[in-house]
């Protein structure tokens, strides 16, 4: 006799929606400093617990504790803090520019500044980055001119990518920052290929890539993990788990069933899970993964556990799908505040210095923006020559494009 019950379809839901009180009580946060730091040569099989814990260095009092403490010089920490401030101020200014109608679109990285800045600090300047659209901090940490970023956002005549790309889709070969794609996830396996090429050539440079929690659902994630593992590619594969993918909480990408870092296990890769709002922890994990890759031990996947503190983009209104004050309730705090607190705790920073640094960042952004706006903002017509629209489709322009260009009269 059959003894079957009717099946039922499950669709996961977040704990809180607009109007609810934010609730992160289910988050299990291990003490800062409690996670051991393995040898970089450890086999992935020896690292099976790392995807289920959280590497943290800064404790609640702002002290740097435990084996992952990278013991950075105070001067490095101050620079890191200033870079995070600069990203935040830059984001605010560009967001405002969009609201003022000066460009079509913008995306902030607010709350996630440590993810990009600390990683940039732990990588070498000539390591190749394959970022998503939320790692503008990489460019800023590498000293890419703000004015060029703004020219890109304004699609003006000095835009380094000639007005062709949506704002924030930067590209800089000189700064080892790969041209950003609007198609999610594509860069993840490309980074693996770059790393394979570097290994093939006996080079000493490694690659790093970043995607969001939501993007792990794309096939590209699987391609990247498989190739990285099979060919032991010198690459760091970062998954920035900022809890949200536009309106979808991370459970829609499978984050409720298993941590994103734990997906590494099935591929035979180490998966580190890291407090993404802790500058020191992000630095330390990236440093570990970079050293491992450089020593030919292969790839590491890092889940950066953080929170998207603001809207997905200028086209989004998060109050429609999550509690308005959820960002404030995020138990891992704010990366800028936490590094600031640490520097003050070790007597290397003060509230006055912080205010001065903030004012300096604001002034830097203001001056650059003035210059960029003088060049032109979107919709004013001060765009690259229409002729250039037909260039770079191919190395050499074929007859049909030349004819189309002639038809437009340029």
């Amino acid at each position: 006799m059959k003894n079957r019950i009717p099946l039922s379809l499950r669709v996961p839901e977040p704990k809180c929606r607009p109007g609810d009180k934010p609730d992160f009580s289910a988050l299990k946060l291990p003490e800062a400093g409690s996670v051991p730091r393995p040898e970089i040569s450890a086999h992935a099989r020896e690292l099976l617990e790392y995807p289920f814990t959280l590497i943290r260095v800064l404790d609640a009092k702002g002290r740097a504790v435990g084996p992952w403490n990278p013991k950075l010089e105070p001067e490095t920490l101050r620079r890191g803090l200033k870079h995070m401030l600069l990203v935040r101020v830059y984001d605010d200014r560009m967001y405002r520019a969009q609201r003022q109608g000066k460009t079509s679109f913008y995306m902030k990285s607010t709350g996630e500044e440590a993810v990009a800045i600390a990683a940039a600090y732990a990588l070498e300047r000539d390591d190749m980055c394959f970022p998503s659209y939320r790692q503008q901090g990489l460019l800023i940490a590498r000293g890419y001119p703000l004015i060029d970023m703004m020219n890109q956002v304004y699609s003006n005549v000095k835009d380094p990518v000639k007005g062709r790309q949506l704002p924030i889709m930067y590209s800089s070969k000189e700064y080892n920052f790969f041209t950003i794609s609007g198609n999610l996830g594509t860069q993840f396996p490309q980074a693996v290929g770059w790393a394979m090429a570097s290994a093939y050539k006996g080079d000493d440079r490694i690659a790093a890539s970043w995607i969001g929690d939501g993007t792990t659902a794309e096939g590209d994630f699987h391609y990247a993990m498989t190739f990285a593992s099979v060919y032991r590619a010198p690459v760091i594969l970062n998954v920035v788990n900022n809890q949200w993918a536009i309106s979808c909480f991370q459970g829609i990408a499978g984050g409720n069933e298993a941590t994103f870092a734990s997906k590494a296990i099935g591929y035979g890769l180490p998966g580190l899970r890291v407090d993404g709002n802790d500058f020191l922890a992000v630095y330390a994990a990236t440093q570990w993964a970079a050293a491992r890759a450089r020593a030919n031990f292969g790839a590491t996947m890092i889940e950066l556990y953080t929170y998207r503190a603001e809207a997905h983009s200028t086209s989004d209104d998060p109050s429609r799908y999550r509690p308005a004050d959820e960002a404030k309730a995020w138990p891992l705090g704010d990366p800028v505040e936490r590094l600031k607190q640490h520097l003050i705790a070790i007597g290397e920073w003060s509230e006055e210095q912080h205010q001065a640094a903030l004012a300096e960042a604001q002034e830097q952004v203001r001056a650059a923006n003035k210059e960029a706006e003088a060049v032109g903002v979107l919709g004013q017509g001060n765009i690259p020559s229409v002729k250039t629209m037909f260039e770079d489709v191919y190395k050499d322009m074929p007859w049909h494009l030349r004819r189309q260009r002639q038809e437009t009269g340029v």
Binding site: L166, A245, C248, H400
Partner: protein, 338 residues
């Protein structure tokens, strides 16, 4: 009848079909609780429950593949691909699977699914929020390709697509979600409420697949267009003073050959308009069809007005977008040939 914009009309089609048929469900990225980034699935989860309208992982391949599986089971899923520019990770499932399952199983299995996706430019979306990839689907045997140009058709065609037993790729011209757009970007945009096609019945009705509409009768020249370009072509016709007949194809495959042939035989001249790049665009197919079916009636070469063979460039939105000026010039050139 209530005045609906395109978004409301599409939403109403889904609502009607979900009320009528428990086998219809809707899902896609941000399409559940939030109701879609363009709000087309707004309110459906609330009304029909979590398992009828839900959020999907960011995986166009997964979305389309699971829809195929559901369709094979006997459901009629309507899935949303957030932008047509992001349909490619699901392309293999459409091209190799959805389109061929009926054929390879000799009719045993079939895939009654609808893939909705916003397409087209005019919103400063850059190269990944502006594409018109319809010809990548019209080329695939076993797929139907539908593109509405107004709220009334949008609802009636979407209902037909859902009721159809074959896979349908349903492109929604996002530039005209909220109002018809003539292509004059410097002029204020009219809301749909001022347009007769915003008169949309609340209940069930269909606009048949495979039937074009003559949206402007005329004698001197035939314009073949679809989606946003229907409105651009109407503006160009009005401004040029040419007695043009404008045909809104509505379904690209199977295309309404009779309406096309009847019109071109009458006018002897034909201009084809689309936003997609020119090379191997759907216009090439139309051009061939007109030539094959109306050659002895043609009085001038067939003209194409299209996007350029470049990616869609952000700052050059209005240089790239085929506006009424370019369409009007092509119409004049076609008229001048004797």
């Amino acid at each position: 009848m209530p005045a609906m914009n395109m978004i409301q009309a599409l939403n109403s089609a889904l609502d009607v079909m979900m009320a009528k048929d428990p086998n219809v469900l809707a899902y896609g990225e941000d399409a559940g609780y939030f109701g879609g980034v363009f709000r087309v699935t707004d309110g459906l989860q609330k009304k029909y429950g979590l398992t009828r309208a839900f959020d999907s992982p960011i995986s166009e391949g997964g979305i389309i593949a699971t829809a195929i599986g559901m369709g094979v089971y006997g459901l009629r899923p309507v899935v949303e691909v957030q932008f047509a520019d992001y349909i490619y990770p699901g392309y293999d499932q459409i091209v190799s699977e959805a389109s061929k399952i009926r054929y390879r199983s000799a009719g045993e299995f079939f895939v009654p699914i609808t893939i909705r996706t916003p397409y087209g430019g005019g919103i400063f979306g850059g190269q990944t929020h502006s594409q018109s990839p319809e010809s990548l689907f019209t080329h695939i045997a076993g797929i139907k390709t539908v593109i509405p140009s107004n709220p009334y058709d949008a609802k009636g065609l979407l209902i037909s697509a859902i009721e159809d037993d074959d896979p349908v790729v349903f492109f929604e011209p996002k530039r005209i979600y909220n109002g018809p757009f003539s292509g004059h970007h410097d002029q204020p945009v009219l809301p749909w409420a001022k347009h007769p096609a915003s008169d949309v019945p609340e209940g069930h009705y269909t606009v048949p697949l495979g039937k074009a509409a003559v949206v402007r009768p005329g004698n001197d020249l035939t314009v073949l267009a679809y989606g946003t370009m229907v409105h651009v072509s109407l503006a160009a016709a009005a401004e040029s003073g040419i007695d043009a007949e404008v045909i809104d194809l509505r379904t690209l495959v199977p295309v309404d050959i009779d309406t096309i042939v009847e019109s071109v035989k009458k006018t002897g001249r034909c201009v084809i308009v689309h936003e997609a790049p020119r090379t191997s665009g759907y216009g090439a197919e139309l051009c061939a069809l007109v030539q094959e079916n109306c050659f002895w009636h043609l009085e001038a070469p067939i003209a194409r007005v299209t996007g350029f063979d470049t990616p869609y460039p952000h700052a050059f939105e209005w240089h790239y977008f085929p506006g009424p000026k370019r369409v009007g010039e092509a119409m004049k050139r076609t008229m001048e040939t004797r």
